[in-house]
Amino acid sequence: MSQTIHVTVNGAAREAEVEPRMLLVDFLRQTLSLTGTHVGCDTSQCGACTVHVDGVSVKACTMFAVQADGSAITTIEGLAGDGALHPLQAAFREEHGLQCGFCTPGMIMAAADLLARNPSSSEGEIRHALEGNYCRCTGYHNIVKAIQNAAGQMS
């Protein structure tokens, strides 16, 4: 039943045998031990599992691993180069955009996708873009500020 898939994850070529029903998020967490991508719900609402597939933000619980065959995947672990921080990672720290940290990887990946599409997002556009990413700790106040901060850094 297993199928072989070939993917590029954070720049490295990976080959693996996966069951057809394995979700992309489980492939990342269990098969590749990339546990920075989190699972917060089972109905694709919370966005804690957000990664980039071929440069586009995807909830990794909405996709089977076999559907990612041939794709390039970026997770929070691979967002920045060796030892460096992506401007969004630095801004989340600078603006206190995280508390427990559980939603943070998904938030940062979703925000990276937003800023790639719309580098000069308004506060309202940022808030609406995060409708698929839940945070229970911050009230989003400092998450929005962090994304605004990063947008300023990146422009």
Binding site: T43, H96, L98, G101, G124, R127, E131, H141, N142
Partner: protein, 786 residues
């Protein structure tokens, strides 16, 4: 280098979280690990007539299948509640897995353990349970009705306890003589906590050493170990290590000792392999203890001048199907004691009954009793102001306890230590520009816009203490905490705390505290938390107690470290202790240039070649336990301004002003963040969140598709400020910041929406539909502004 207190230092824990290197329980994979899947009841109430596990046992990858009877037969006790409310409290057994009956949807019945999570889930479909459905009660009024089905046969009328506080005769007399009485019937709806990390547990028994390690997403690992060992399993405490690694939010829901913890601890010993369980979100909805759920009638009496003369409150509190860890304490001691609020109410009486229903157990949720009390008071104040034609801010102001009245004994047993309520109100009014707002509101209304303002002037009591008082009011535990400082030979410091951080930023704040007083760089200080094998003891984090109790314990240990360091310095410098001053991380003989650094003293303590060995032991390490003298009492004023769309009933928060007094502040950035999150949680209750059970006890809001938590677009930027009235009885002058926002915000929002649409009351959550109906009801009754 060491002036860290009051500084917004960026958090040291962030690096691992922003790079995906956090380590939450589900991230942990142990060799030879197995995976547990719970088979849960689809019925709210049913007799279990048989369980056939044979087919499941034969499925691929299955290691074992267990039922409730297996656990009982092994001598495992029910999970106790931690709070005794009166001698007659009914405390029916809460087994790890249901034995005879299931009592809520989600009650565990059997568990499949398999080589993979998928295999366990597949096999769980093949556990055949013969249920005999029984009539269920989800609604408290139905539970209290004559002839209602009994959740527990030994709890007549479904009542667990009755509790009262205050002087009933005095309250009755005051209300009888009152010039005006405002009456309010409240449904404080049930909430579902929904920390974004679902709960997870791993039990890992070492067959060779008989050591058990339990990883669990808990707010209080020592409390879990105590309950697990001393009450449930009888396992020796020194052979059990509980680790709470990174925990993805708690909000109260991860305080409690849950059946899955007992199961994983028990099952790993049975099968000789590690057992992991991670909740699916749909399991979180039916197994994480829920919050609030009160039905209350309240009457507040006023004299002709608007002064409150008395308050009488009767509350039915839903306990769900079993008494969870803190359950009975929440709608009683953490609720009734708060009913004086910021006001000089001379006579108060409150009666609470705890009621069993066939629903998920109810326990502490962010604020825990205090939001329910504050909601009641602050709604009453707004209603009364409207009824008496008074300004809502003015009515509050004239009833405030005055600064010169502290310490202030309330009629509901608390002694408030300090406060300046008017200062916070004035600051909030100033930030809002209240007079200008009222003019703008008049103008907007003339244009047909529905703009409203809501106030909440709240008090909180946090850091429940002292232990003797906690014991006297039924808590089955002490409420102190411990802090240990281990100074290494190079002068680097590890700090061990019994409280636990799951988002609060203790690794930063506590390092600031220690570095500040030792006058060393923060980089030289590291916090250790969440591991019973490393930390002497502790009661964990809840009730906004971490800094006031855990931080004060660390401060006591700091005093001991600095005291011994001074003795060592005096020896090395050949000076009297009193002639030394400690500045910039150096002990210096006053008026000279002779000094010795903290690092040198540490090295001397561990390499005691030239050392006063007759008077001093080597080493530099101290633990301290701190039992506070009293609660701490944060307070403040929150003001919410909303605009309601008259066509849709949609509520937009235009401004949210919060002025909180949490005493001294170590890291303002972190405190502001706590307030933001707290406000969001309280707004969630006001506008979005509500658990709905149908008449058969099915949870209709069992996913994020049906239960709305606030999203980014639902919330505004918050305008947060502070006053500082130090707590006089702890060494740091701090109070607590984690719950103020939640306690204050819910009534502020409801008051604002009611003001906007001219409604007396709107049931929470104030969905667009409910608000739209309120607008039209106000219009048809002719008393609305619309």
């Amino acid at each position: 280098m060491s002036d860290y207190i009051g500084t917004s230092v960026k958090r040291v824990e962030d690096q691992r979280f922003i790079t995906g290197r956090g380590r939450y329980t589900d991230d942990i994979v142990l060799p030879n690990m197995t995976y547990a899947c719970f088979v849960r009841s689809p019925y709210a109430h049913a007799r279990i007539n048989g369980i056939d596990t044979e087919e499941a046992r034969n499925r691929p990858g299955v290691v074992a299948v267990f039922t409730g009877q297996d656990i009982v037969d092994d001598g495992i006790n029910p999970i106790p509640t931690g709070w005794q409310i009166g001698e007659d409290m009914k405390e029916p057994p809460h087994h790890t897995l249901a034995v005879d009956k299931v009592r809520h949807v989600g009650d565990g019945v059997a568990v499949v353990i398999a080589e993979t999570k998928a295999a366990a889930q597949d096999a769980a479909e093949h556990v055949h349970i013969e249920y005999e459905p029984l009539p269920a009660v989800a609604d408290m009024n139905e539970a209290l009705a004559d002839g209602a089905p009994l959740v527990h046969d030994d709890a007549p009328n479904n009542v667990s306890f009755h509790w009262e506080l205050g002087d009933k005769a005095a309250a009755d007399a005051a209300l009888a003589a009152a010039h005006h009485i405002t009456t309010y019937e409240i449904v404080n709806q049930r909430l579902i906590p929904n920390a974004i990390e679902p709960r997870a547990v791993i039990g890992d028994h070492n067959v060779a050493t008989d050591d058990l390690t339990l990883y669990t997403s808990s707010q209080n690992p020592h409390l879990i170990r105590l309950l697990l060992c001393a009450f449930v399993t009888g396992l020796p405490e020194h052979k059990v290590r509980v680790i709470s690694p990174d925990v993805g939010g708690g909000f109260g829901s991860k305080i409690f000792h849950y059946p899955e913890e007992v199961f994983c601890a028990w099952a790993t010993r049975k099968i000789g392999r590690p057992v992991k369980w991670t909740a699916e979100r749909s399991e979180s909805f039916v197994t994480d203890a829920q919050g609030r759920d009160h039905l209350t009638t309240a009457e507040m009496g006023f004299d002709a001048d608007g002064k409150i003369v008395g308050l009488r409150v009767d509350t039915a509190a839903n306990m769900g199907a079993y008494l969870s860890t803190f359950a009975g304490g929440i709608p009683t001691w953490l609720y009734g004691t708060l009913l004086a609020g910021q006001y000089t109410t001379p006579a108060i009486y409150v009666h609470t009954q705890g009621i069993f229903t066939n629903t998920v157990p109810v326990d502490a949720l962010r604020g825990a009793g205090r939001p329910e009390a504050t909601f009641l008071l602050e709604r009453l104040m707004d209603l009364a102001a409207k009824e008496m034609g008074r300004d809502p801010a003015g009515l509050r102001r004239m009833n405030f306890i005055q600064p010169d009245q502290f310490p202030y004994d309330t009629p509901v047993v608390l002694q408030y230590d300090s406060g300046n309520y008017e200062a916070a109100l004035d600051k909030a009014l100033d930030i809002l520009d209240y007079d200008a707002f009222r003019q703008q509101q008049q103008q907007a209304r003339a244009e047909g816009r529905l703009i409203g303002i809501g106030f909440s002037t709240y008090i909180e009591a946090c850091g429940i203490a002292p232990s003797a008082v906690a014991g006297a009011i039924g808590a089955r535990a002490g409420l102190y905490d411990s802090g240990m400082l281990r100074v290494h030979p190079t002068g680097k410091v590890q700090v061990y705390t019994g409280v636990h951080s799951h988002g609060q930023g203790h690794e930063t704040t506590f390092a600031q505290l220690v570095a500040h007083h030792l006058q060393i760089p923060m980089e030289d200080v590291e916090l250790v938390h969440g591991d019973t094998a490393q930390i002497p003891f502790g009661m964990g984090t809840y009730g906004s107690r971490s800094l006031a109790v855990g931080g004060s314990a660390i401060y006591r240990a700091l005093e001991k470290v600095l005291g011994k360091a001074r003795k060592i310095a005096a020896y090395k410098l050949e000076a009297a202790e009193e002639d030394l001053e400690y500045v910039g991380g150096q002990f210096t003989v006053k008026g000279t240039d002779r000094s010795v650094s903290f690092g040198d003293i540490a090295l001397t303590a561990y390499v005691p070649h030239d050392y006063p060995i007759e008077e001093l032991e080597p080493g530099l390490e101290f633990n301290a336990f701190y039992d506070p003298k009293n609660f701490t009492f944060p307070f403040g004023t929150h003001i919410c301004v909303v605009e309601v769309d008259p066509d849709t009933g949609e509520v937009e928060i235009l401004r949210y002003v919060a002025v909180d007094d949490v005493g001294e502040v170590i890291n303002p950035m972190i405190v502001d963040g706590q307030v933001h999150g707290g406000i969001a949680h309280g707004i969630g209750q006001a506008l979005f969140e509500g658990a709905v059970y149908d008449e058969d006890g099915q949870l209709l809001t069992g996913t994020f598709m049906d239960y709305t938590i606030p999203r980014a677009a639902d919330l505004p930027m918050f305008e947060v400020d502070r006053t500082v009235t130090p707590c006089p009885h702890n060494p740091l002058g701090v109070k607590g910041a984690g719950e103020t926002g939640t306690i204050a915000s819910t009534p502020a929002v409801v008051n604002a929406v009611c003001d906007a649409v001219g409604a007396r009351d709107i049931q929470m959550p104030m969905t667009s539909e409910r608000v739209w109906r309120a607008i039209h009801a106000a219009r048809s009754s002719g008393d609305g502004q619309a």
